[in-house]
């Protein structure tokens, strides 16, 4: 059996668990929808202002929604002993961690990407800006999952880990926020989003390489 099939087994298992425990998945999505929708309601029909704040609001909401789902990334596996078995599996733990991050993104990142254009309409974003928003979130949300995994692993088994994980990861999310929201803003102001999106993609590539490694190291410490 090769490494890829072990990875897909982990993804499959996590998706199956998420499917049977829908409430947790929907919490993230509804949080995102509600937070984003509160702004147009609170500000009123001032289209110029809404268009201006749209990228920032959508991105900050995506950040917070991801934050909300980070706690369950490793906590359940840690509590029921599955994490021990993963650490003892004859495949690199980094690979299994990657599988878990992929599953986490599919469950809590991808739905945000898909619903974002619909929410963007409330802010009177042009179709082009909505496309850029989707692309920026498509590149950005996996980045959030990857970085979040490090925070989740570091706070595993720590009392009050939920608050701690926010304090640890939110500062690390700043580059993603700047380039993600920046891409949409740049597109709206006619500068072109290519530069921002390239930087976001570069950050994703960097995180895809280093984050599983750092997460693995943190998990091994938590398991000792």
């Amino acid at each position: 059996m090769n490494a890829f099939s072990v990875l897909s087994a982990v993804v499959q298992r996590d998706l199956l668990v998420a499917l049977r425990r829908k409430s947790e998945v929907l919490t993230t999505l509804f949080f995102f929808v509600i937070v984003v929708s509160l702004f147009p309601l609170g500000i009123g029909p001032e289209m110029d202002l809404l268009r201006k704040i749209a990228p920032g609001v959508l991105w900050v909401a995506a950040l917070l929604a991801t934050m909300l789902s980070l706690n369950r990334l490793f906590a359940a596996d840690h509590a029921d002993g599955t994490l021990e078995q993963m650490a003892l599996a004859p495949v690199p733990l980094g690979l299994l961690v990657t599988g878990k991050v992929v599953a986490h993104w599919l469950v809590s990142g991808l739905p945000l990407v898909l619903i974002a254009p619909l929410l963007g309409l409330q802010f009177d974003l042009a179709p082009r800006a909505l496309t850029v928003l989707m692309i920026s979130l498509l590149l950005g949300t996996p980045l959030l999952s990857l970085i979040g995994a490090i925070g989740a692993a570091l706070t595993l088994g720590v009392r009050g880990g939920g608050v701690l994980v926010s304090l640890l990861t939110l500062p690390l999310y700043i580059p993603a926020l700047i380039f993600g929201a920046g891409a949409v803003e740049a597109d709206i102001s006619g500068l072109g989003a290519a530069g921002h999106l390239s930087l976001l993609a570069a950050l994703l590539a960097l995180a895809a390489f280093f984050a599983p490694w750092a997460t693995t190291a943190a998990l091994r410490i938590a398991l000792e």
Binding site: R13, L16, D80, G81, T82, Q85, A87, A89, V91, E224
Partner: protein
């Protein structure tokens, strides 16, 4: 062959044990005993490589386990206090996923057969959260049926099991040992495994 030399373990500022050593030959098993808090679980976790020992070394076939990595992990099957089962998944899904993690492809029909052997016939499609404590333990122990590892490390495997399941586990262990396997287990009850070499290791509190 598993050899441990001069193992020491410190938890907080308490020294649980020091200078501990043993050799486990193929076909033999170690009965690890000691009071609560004497470090049995800590020792098992050190032996499987989950936590590093404070001092000492563990050799598998003459090579330190730290340099063996995945080769050693392939040789060990560990069952800890926790059953490592996902409550939302069915017994058969849990068994197949556990095997997949170890790189073993388990067909559903095989999983059903194994679950029947541990006395869970007809319950393989039930989410594990509906099973009793003892039944969950049986699902966890069913992994021994697909395990190809020569070394089994079992932490309190008999907990929550009824008489029939205890008997089944003792028979399974006897077969494993007869085939040249090794086992280390902790238990607070007397264990009899037919036709095997037993070493008793007592940890003093």
């Amino acid at each position: 062959m598993l050899t441990a030399t001069h193992l020491a373990c410190v938890r907080g500022d308490r020294r649980l044990f020091a200078g501990l050593g043993f050799t486990l030959e193929a076909g033999a098993w170690i009965y690890l005993t000691g009071e609560n808090g004497s470090g049995k679980t800590s020792l098992l976790r050190i032996l499987v490589g989950l936590s590093p020992p404070e001092a000492g070394e563990i050799l598998w076939q003459g090579t330190p386990i730290t340099s063996l990595g995945d080769d050693y992990r392939k040789a060990v099957t560990y069952l800890g206090h926790h059953n490592a089962l996902k409550e939302e998944l069915t017994a058969s899904e849990n068994l197949c996923m556990g095997a997949a993690l170890a790189g073993i492809v388990l067909e559903k029909s095989e999983a059903t057969k194994m679950l029947a052997e541990v006395g869970l016939a007809g319950r393989e499609e039930l989410p594990v959260r509906f099973l009793s404590q003892g039944q969950k333990r049986r699902v966890a122990l069913a992994r021994l049926l697909w395990s190809k590892s020569p070394l089994w490390v079992l932490d309190e495997p008999f907990v929550a099991l009824d008489a029939a399941a205890v008997l089944w586990l003792a028979e399974t262990l006897a077969e494993h040992l007869a085939a040249g396997g090794m086992a280390i287990l902790t238990s607070h009850q007397e264990v009899a495994i037919a036709g095997s070499t037993m070493q008793t290791l007592r940890l003093a509190a």
